[in-house]
């Protein structure tokens, strides 16, 4: 299951240099993928499928992965966490070496991934999709300890269940306060889907409860569609306080469950703090983000601007105009696998394809809306939104349209997770 040793990797690199096409060298090319979420799993499986002669190792930090997509349905108590949790047996059965371990560093100069246990895995190319880390410290008072009292639930798993249970135990007529960061962050419409699905649950179990969104920005993704739906489904329950009216969150206090903004203090019975985010720690530690919070890449090939031979994608990277979504990360992972396969063969990668994204949001289990985007690499090498394509669901549509989109959302989720983990 282990990759080549450092010596083998060096030997491989040597012969590769000679032939200018590693796949033709005596040794097999080895690609290490870091992160078994949407981007990494898509990359690993696609690469193994299109280049079966390449050794592919997927480094995962746990033997199970819970998806953030549909985790708001867990908060709504509509589905259990197990419904959105997957193992890696099928990935391994597809020929990918699955290595459970935490990547401490990606060393581009030595072409090794250093694991926390001290082991090293050599690579010809690495694909890195480790997602985000929560920027504890960005909001005074919010640290890992405070997150036990005021969950973020922005990585799915125990945090999701913690918040779900807090919502269930909220006193009658209580207040659910949600603090939402400014852009960029994982899943632009995610907080508003969450507010909707929490409202769906509360309207049944606690109908006089209130939801207050303390926002770090003035407008948000699919805003009119969300607001239209909230008026219809949960009139009076959800209040959105834009940045201009709250002045920005200054600090939070886990002991008193308060969110202190510049113009107003919000006290909740349940407080969901979604803090600002950065590329995951391993990317920052490896210098892939330079001095910034997110990784800069060549938007046609996903190759890092700072670390040759290392490709970065998904939430951790700035991928042109594409939003930080699981759909985008999966597409980027699959496209990156084609780039890497081409280079390993000494061929030019395709650069004129179209990339798509759709973010579905559920306002209730049978009320869906979406935003779609189409992206192409332009002459300057930037992955830009194609003008006059993409866009939102229509406003003022009838229930049949919303129900159909909820069906598409479920179909999207099941089809994608079957392909990644099934």
């Amino acid at each position: 299951m282990t990759g080549p040793t450092r010596r083998q990797t060096l030997a491989m690199a040597g012969s590769a240099g000679l032939l200018a096409a590693p796949a033709l060298s005596a040794g097999r090319a080895h690609v290490v993928v870091v992160g078994g979420g949407f981007g990494g799993t898509a990359a690993a499986r696609t690469l193994k499928e299109i280049a079966p002669d390449t050794d592919v190792t997927l480094v995962v930090d746990a033997d199970r992965f819970s998806t953030c997509p549909f985790s708001n349905l867990v908060l709504a108590d509509e589905i259990p966490l197990s419904r959105i949790t997957f193992g890696f047996d099928a990935v391994a059965a597809a020929g990918v070496s699955v290595r459970v371990g935490v990547a401490a560093e990606i060393d581009a100069a030595r072409k090794v991934v250093v694991l926390q246990d001290g082991n090293e895995i050599g690579f010809d190319r690495a694909i890195v999709s480790p997602g985000i880390d929560l920027n504890f410290g960005a909001i005074p008072g919010y640290d890992a300890g405070a997150a036990q009292r005021m969950p973020h639930a922005w990585k799915a798993g125990v945090q999701t269940e913690l918040l779900r249970d807090q919502i269930g135990a909220m006193p009658p007529g209580g207040t659910f306060v949600m603090s939402v960061p400014n852009n960029p962050y994982r899943c632009p419409p995610g907080p508003y889907e969450r507010a909707s699905l929490v409202a769906h649950r509360l309207s049944r179990i606690n109908p006089t409860a209130k939801i207050i969104i303390v926002d770090g920005k003035d407008s948000f993704s699919k805003q009119s569609l969300f607001m239209e739906g909230w008026d219809r489904l949960y009139p009076g329950m959800i209040t959105h306080v834009p940045f201009a009216e709250n002045g920005g969150v200054k600090d939070v206090d886990a002991a008193t469950l308060t969110v202190e903004a510049a113009f107003e203090t919000f006290r909740g019975d349940v407080v969901n703090v979604i803090p600002p985010q950065t590329a995951a720690g391993v990317a920052l530690r490896s210098g892939l983000a330079g001095d910034g919070d997110w990784c800069q890449i060549d938007q046609a090939t996903f190759e890092s601007e700072t670390a040759p031979g290392v490709h970065v994608l998904g939430d951790a990277a700035i991928v042109g105009d594409m939003p930080k979504s699981g759909f985008s990360a999966s597409v980027q992972g699959a496209v990156c696998a084609h780039v890497v396969a081409s280079w390993l063969k000494g061929a030019e990668p395709v650069s004129d394809a179209v990339l798509l994204n759709t973010c579905y949001s559920l306002l209730s289990p049978d009320y869906g809306i979406s935003v779609a985007g189409v992206y192409r690499v332009n002459a300057e090498g930037r992955l830009k939104s194609v003008r006059d394509a993409g866009g939102n669901s229509p406003m003022a549509a009838d229930d049949g349209v919303r129900q159909a989109e909820a069906g598409f959302a479920l179909s999207w989720y099941d089809t994608l997770t079957r392909q990644l983990f099934g």
């Binding site: 079966p52 002669d53 396969a341 063969k345 000494g346 779609a372 993409g390 089809t415």
Partner: protein, 99 residues
Amino acid sequence: MFKNLILLGFLFMGAAAAAQSTTAEVTYLSCAVCHGDGQGDDAIPAIQGRPHDMLLASLSSFAAEGGTATIMHRFITALTPAEMDDLARHISGLEGVAQ
């Protein structure tokens, strides 16, 4: 010459080695996120292996008629007629339950 050597190399490896990626194949990766595993038992239909004519006709009608209930018409305006044709040809060549 170099290309030929590479091809030769693949022949030698007796390979399952795939041919070079095409634009339609890479574009299809985005389609596959929703249509990909060909199970087609969900709200979103399986499309792999459907006849080229049929695929091209539905892509063209999404482009022409628009519509409110799907997202396809929001995507399809980005493709040229030639790209639609290539994409339909690629999808029709895939194995799938829709065959």
